[in-house]
Symmetry: C2
Subunit: 201 residues, 2 copies
Amino acid sequence: MGLRERKKAGTRAALSWAALRLAAERGLDNVKVEDIAEAAGVSPRTFNNYFSSKGEAIATHHLDRCLRIAEALRERPAEPLWDAITHAVLPQFEPGTAVADQPAPDPAKWTAGVRTVLDEPAVQGELLRAGARAEAEIAAAVADRTGTDPEQDLYPHLVASAVMAAINTAMAHHLRTDPPVPASRLLTDALACIAAGLPAP
Amino acid sequence: MGLRERKKAGTRAALSWAALRLAAERGLDNVKVEDIAEAAGVSPRTFNNYFSSKGEAIATHHLDRCLRIAEALRERPAEPLWDAITHAVLPQFEPGTAVADQPAPDPAKWTAGVRTVLDEPAVQGELLRAGARAEAEIAAAVADRTGTDPEQDLYPHLVASAVMAAINTAMAHHLRTDPPVPASRLLTDALACIAAGLPAP
DNA sequence: ACGCAAATATGCGTGGTGCGCAATTTTATG
DNA sequence: CATAAAATTGCGCACCACGCATATTTGCGT
């Protein structure tokens, strides 16, 4: 990867992290695009060259994570489908994988702030949009693996959609509970339940 | 239902239909809130008393449809869960159930216009948000039926999420195909596939 | 090492939008 | 019919997405 792309990825990351951090501290609409740009050391106009809204900047974290799932799926062509999916999903939600930055002044305040931000309607919408985008990639990966055609068959999209459903449900539950149930347990349960056809309990 | 609520529902319907119709005719961003309000016979300010964006006004149709699914689910407590779900979902997507208004000047132009509108990012986001809202209602219905607790158990949310996944996937495929495959077949296939645990083909 | 072309960042201007506030009209109730 | 509650309306403001023109940085061939 050349200097060009690295700088681009750098400012993108700086912008999205700044957006999340500031929003978690002050609340989403007490943060202006100007503030985020300043925190990332770029011009306000540049922010909109990368993201078209504050919500999108924040949701990028989720998008990247889910795109990594599709990537991981392609690296496990040997296992049975649902085993591969489980093993592709879980590592992306290990604590410490992404938050290993400097935004940890107080872990309690931090998670509370994040929870508040994620309740914001604008952010929720963007998270869903991110999930939809990732779904396409996952569907493509599943299609390759199973020899189905994304244009023709429902199957790959259905699997991808169900996986995202499991993730969203598990994460929603994770945010809802206090003290938080570990995400890994919720995710394995949810995926197993779906792979079992969601039988009535 | 009193006069008050009926008028309220009336203007809400008028606004959302006007929004969809105008957007399908001219394209979403060639329509200003002012135009929609005028077409519905209310003040521009009133539009924002009902919806906070054009996309939300349009997505209301989808939301209402999905809420009716939750309602229908509660009216079928006898059947096995997935039979009830299938029977609750299908009628809401019968052609002619909702479009029986006056917006049918040319069916070809109409569906093409709708397809264009649904490609708009703003609308997609709102559709996803509508799905998420409906999901909560469906989850509640499933929880009642299965004796699970939405606050505590993953199961009802997981089922609701999977149902919405099936609907979204089926509708996306329905819009993608030309000539369109009947939605009913896609929906039954998708729901059956999920109830079977999405086995690799 | 140098220079050219492409990609990227920036500044400015503009139309549109979401929403708070206060006044007015319409509806429900006793 | 009177009074309270709710909905609609008009006004106004702050914010934001985005197009366009310009300056700067990066990649690459020589």
